[in-house]
Symmetry: C2
Subunit: 488 residues, 2 copies
Amino acid sequence: RQAQNVVHFLVEDWCMSALLGIITAVLSVGMDVAIEVLQHAHVVMYDKMREISAYLAFSQWIAHITILTALSAVFCQIISKQAVGSGIPEVKVIMHGFKMDNYLTLRTLVAKMFGLTLAMGGGLPIGKEGPFVHMGAIVATLLSKLTATCQYSAFFSNEGREMEMLSSGCAVGIACTFSAPIGAVLYAIESTSKYFAVKNYWRGFLAATCSAIIFRFANFFVTAAQSGTITAFYQTRFPTDPFLIEELPVFLLLGLLSGFMGALFIFMHRKISHFRSKNKIFKLIFRNNFLSFTVFMAIVVGLLTYPEGMGRYFAGRLTFRETMADFFNNCTWITNDSRRCPESTLQHWTGGPDGGVSIFLSLILYYFVYFFLVAICISINVPAGVFVPSFIIGACGGRLVGELMLVLFPEGMRGPGGPPIHPGLYAVVGAAAYTAAVTHTLSVAVIICELTGQLAPILPVLIAMLMGNAVCKFLQPSIYESIIRIKK
Amino acid sequence: RQAQNVVHFLVEDWCMSALLGIITAVLSVGMDVAIEVLQHAHVVMYDKMREISAYLAFSQWIAHITILTALSAVFCQIISKQAVGSGIPEVKVIMHGFKMDNYLTLRTLVAKMFGLTLAMGGGLPIGKEGPFVHMGAIVATLLSKLTATCQYSAFFSNEGREMEMLSSGCAVGIACTFSAPIGAVLYAIESTSKYFAVKNYWRGFLAATCSAIIFRFANFFVTAAQSGTITAFYQTRFPTDPFLIEELPVFLLLGLLSGFMGALFIFMHRKISHFRSKNKIFKLIFRNNFLSFTVFMAIVVGLLTYPEGMGRYFAGRLTFRETMADFFNNCTWITNDSRRCPESTLQHWTGGPDGGVSIFLSLILYYFVYFFLVAICISINVPAGVFVPSFIIGACGGRLVGELMLVLFPEGMRGPGGPPIHPGLYAVVGAAAYTAAVTHTLSVAVIICELTGQLAPILPVLIAMLMGNAVCKFLQPSIYESIIRIKK
């Protein structure tokens, strides 16, 4: 019997967790490549068209996003309506013991995969971590069912184990989004569970590690040019002591501000949802059709980001990944010394080679445009996550504060010769604080360290994150809770 | 009422957690400095004596450790017997709901502080994380009691809150040992709780962050030379891609081996305890006196580490902190190219300037000598932790494997021109795997990343750690569980 238990343990427990990690990672690598190809095509086609005619380029830019978004919405509508939205709120509800039909089926998995790829490939400002969590949870459920039909069914029949697998599935989903195995496990626990059995901790780790290995292998075969999102790794290059004690109060303030903005974001998202379901004029225009408002928003996003129009003023041409790299970059946007970013980077934010747009204007515009766009786009009829957009918005706010600090203290807070101010560090801190506020999680601190590959900013990140989290917790429920309440 | 709750929340909840972090950090900074001074004095005095006479030096070396250890034991005996040992097992028992008298009193705190400072200052191969956890738990309890006598007593009277404070106290204790705030919170949860309420997560983070800030401030006033343990930060300098996929199986194997050795360690520790309590000859020699065996072991450690005797062969002169720096160093001990460590480092392991001892012999001796010494020393009558020694033993094993790999593949696994092998990375991985095995915790992965300030080794660390943890879990209870069972 002892021997049989060992076999069970090895084959089923270990293999299941490992398989879960591997399968989800393979799926997500495939999606990452597809999304990258689509996003790349958007810009390349646009540039080609512009050589012919500006009107053609304009229509191509709008058409790409509109058609792909519409396809995504139609796809989800036909295959599985449950694929719409983030997925984390639903998984949370399921993990609290409620049954929700069709949320964890193969159909939904397929719909979620294609829907997300199309919507993100189109260029909507949405994230992939929520859908990935949902996908991970589905893979986990399917694996559980598969073994339940096998011989040792008794071993698998208890509900606790299923929940455990679900939790591992969530962890794997996050691990695949950020290639951040440790933060992923913690985030999955925080965002889905109320109580948590320490004994089962290792399953999530094992699954996340397996998917990290797959990602590592993928780097072999897919070059970085093809797949920015596979490496999904914004290696920062701060010195080992990137901040002064004098700067800590500024980080505290940044955390406070991020907390308020996070609460405002959640509040606004809820108001918009109410408006959409209550307002008569809105209903008259868009009817109750699943497609109309979704397509409308796709066109709005296309119009706003059109690189020769509004998009000039807030880097509309860039994908989230590229913007993030700019924000986290350890160079400055306003000084004129050796620390200045290369011109190619700066041109993203000054409206092109002959732009002359102020980077402060760009950053402020970027912040508010995406603040509103994201709040709306995460509740249209496509699969859409909120974590990555929050990250970007937070990083933008942080960068703004960082560059302002640089205006105030061009030589650093201790004057000439002292350590300089790193605006990129403020972006990292801002991203952590704002995301911690919006999602009410603390594991963001771990995720951001894994994402940037550096632990030097940990102290400012923790301070700002605790502040932002506390403020937002005090004012509003988390965005996931808020979505659950809206759907009720 | 709402307003009153806010005040309660801000003043008591936040302030309590922050105070807990600050007080424990201040205590631990003070102890760190004192320990460093004592350890430094040991070596400096020894060198001075050697100029006069070798006999004098020898007796000074033995006397220092014996006297300080005896003082520590006497101190604990007089002030509070509960201060003896690690403290984590007892805190674990208390957190599971059992009452243990006098374990969380001011007397015990005082005894633990002085006892640990003396024992570690003397040079016993013991760690400080267990006692620090105990201290954190005591500070938390005292703070709870303090507020309980205040006005808002009803608010504080529930047991859940006390447990919460205890858990934060543990987190702070670990955070102070390693200046690793995130890993500390997780380690405290893993090593003390079975189930864990996610909602209370942030308290530990806040407390740990506050102590991290104190440590940061301490760096202002205390220079690194005075206080290696304050910074307690073994910044490694690996490249961002320090390993190849081909090396992953080696890391897996290293994890497996570490798991077996960890299980052996726990087994041996238990056998030694049984021997001490059962064997008649042992009892006849040492009686039931608290001091006799403790002093005997202090003399044994002194004899073994005596730098001109046995100590020549395994760097007996070095403190754990210095050995750790050597193990983690990103240079090699055997190649003759630019990657070779500076001679001053190598001389620690080749028996001095004219030593000629093989570094492999040194490493193997170091491994086994400390393997046995630590197993005995953590259960003599002084405060003593097991985490840091495990770290060192694991790092030693890892370094050994790393240097062996370098012998097998002097040009790296892809041959000349390919990426080289970093033996320091193997030391990091070995440390994580062995410690994860001995303590049955996974948060070691986070702690080691925070300790080394690099996230690049995360994948090998996770793989080896999961392996080591699984193997040891399968063969033995954790060292803390084992101690609880022995004491029962």
